[in-house]
């Protein structure tokens, strides 16, 4: 089915970049973080976009011109895949497969998914922890050296889960970064934390103060995307991330 998903390149794509993913999920952490990266990083521009009949018949208009809801932004060392709409639960596999195959063809050195992990009573937390899961022992070791806590046991549901598993199978270095966040409400604070985690792993550093200052405005603006994302999360049984797995050795 991944043949039904095309990535159309608009610019020359750098080889050997770090590929990041910011897709709608819990707290919209990945999308908010990706959007902040695009506004803060220098020389980053749209380099490719996704064309697929598996997606709903939808375009996003910016300044009167049509854009695919799933686009890839890039500069000389980053490729950032971001979606401006909730991805239907039943097409996540082919969408992720196509993006991973494309990234592999561009010889990306690492894939990192920016996301969140829901926590009850989130509003009572003063500090948000960032956890990580990785595709290999070497990557886990690197995360531990950077003092990022490993998500040892549990379930992971959504695009980041597919990415991690696929990359582990292919032997491609990959990490999923997860900041504690609200399940169903946009969480710019969590996005700021995940970006701090990204900085310590890759050196891709951006100032997150604007993200925190404009937090309430972002939450107001992100309501509709969150509403659609809630529905897709419910279809993919996202709350299973709260479950305790039965360990089979």
């Amino acid at each position: 089915m991944s043949g039904e998903v095309k990535i159309i390149e608009k610019k020359e794509i750098p080889l050997g970049a770090v590929m990041l993913f910011g897709f709608p999920d819990v707290g919209l952490v990945g999308v908010i973080a990706a959007s902040h990266l695009i506004s803060e990083l220098e020389n980053i521009e749209e380099v490719a976009y996704m064309d697929s009949k598996l997606l709903p018949p939808l375009i996003v208009l910016h300044e009167g011109l049509p854009h695919s809801p799933i686009r890839i932004f890039g500069n000389h060392n980053i490729l950032l895949a971001v979606s401006e709409t909730a991805i239907p639960a039943d097409v996540i596999y082919p969408i992720m497969d196509a993006l991973i195959d494309w990234g592999r063809s561009k010889k990306v050195k690492m894939m990192i998914s920016l996301s969140g992990i829901p926590i009850q009573d989130r509003q009572d937390l003063k500090e948000l922890k960032v956890f990580a899961a990785a595709s290999s022992q070497e990557m886990l070791k690197m995360l531990q050296e950077k003092e990022i806590e490993i998500l040892q046991e549990g379930y992971m549901v959504g695009p980041q889960a597919i990415m991690l598993q696929r990359c582990a199978t292919m032997g491609l270095p990959a990490i999923t970064l997860l900041a504690q966040c609200f399940l169903n409400y946009p969480d710019p604070e969590a996005a700021a934390e995940v970006l701090k985690g990204l900085a310590s792993i890759t050196g891709i550093k951006v100032d997150v103060s604007k993200l925190l200052e404009k937090g309430e405005e972002i939450r107001l603006r992100a309501r509709d995307v969150m509403r659609r994302t809630q529905q897709e999360m419910s279809k993919m049984k996202k709350t299973q991330e709260y479950d305790i797995p039965l360990y089979i050795s």
Binding site: Q123, E216, R219, R223, R227, Q230
Partner: protein
């Protein structure tokens, strides 16, 4: 002559629950397929969530950009609450770059149905980090003695 197998009681129950699930999914999707704002009443609908525990119902509502002093939580009947809150300033469509709709909004408004019986008069409300939390103790029947 082919004989039609009589449906068992369990088949009927299974079918009932399947229909109920389909209906709930359809209703959820239909509820979503409308704007989250109302130009006539100048209100926007907040994101909200309901959690039912054995002892209470917890309703949370995302109310960013609001003044705490303007938040009102009002029981409408024995299982519905109305929530309103004023935004810190009027929000217009063009604040979000949208020019093909006109209108401005200054209030969050929603009515939330509580799915189980609760004691409305024992409602507890708190507001933290832009999240309103309404706690309603569940009504309980009488204990059945274990012999």
């Amino acid at each position: 002559m082919a004989t039609k197998r009589k449906r068992s009681f369990f088949d009927i129950i299974d079918e009932y629950f399947e229909n109920l699930e389909e209906w709930a999914e359809e209703l959820g999707e239909r509820l979503l397929e409308r704007p989250s704002w109302n130009q006539k009443t100048c209100t926007i609908e907040p994101l909200r969530d309901i959690m039912v525990t054995p002892t209470e119902v917890i309703v949370t509502v995302d109310l960013p950009y609001t003044e705490e002093s303007t938040i009102k939580v009002k029981p409408l009947d024995k299982n519905t609450i109305e929530i309103t809150a004023k935004l810190k300033r009027k929000i217009r469509f063009d604040d979000f770059g949208i020019t093909h709709y006109k209108g401005e909004f200054q209030t969050f408004h929603c009515n939330t149905r509580i799915p189980v019986s609760v004691e409305m008069d024992k409602m507890e409300v708190r507001f933290k980090k832009g999240i309103l939390e309404v706690r309603l103790p569940r009504k309980h029947g009488y204990p059945i003695p274990i012999e």
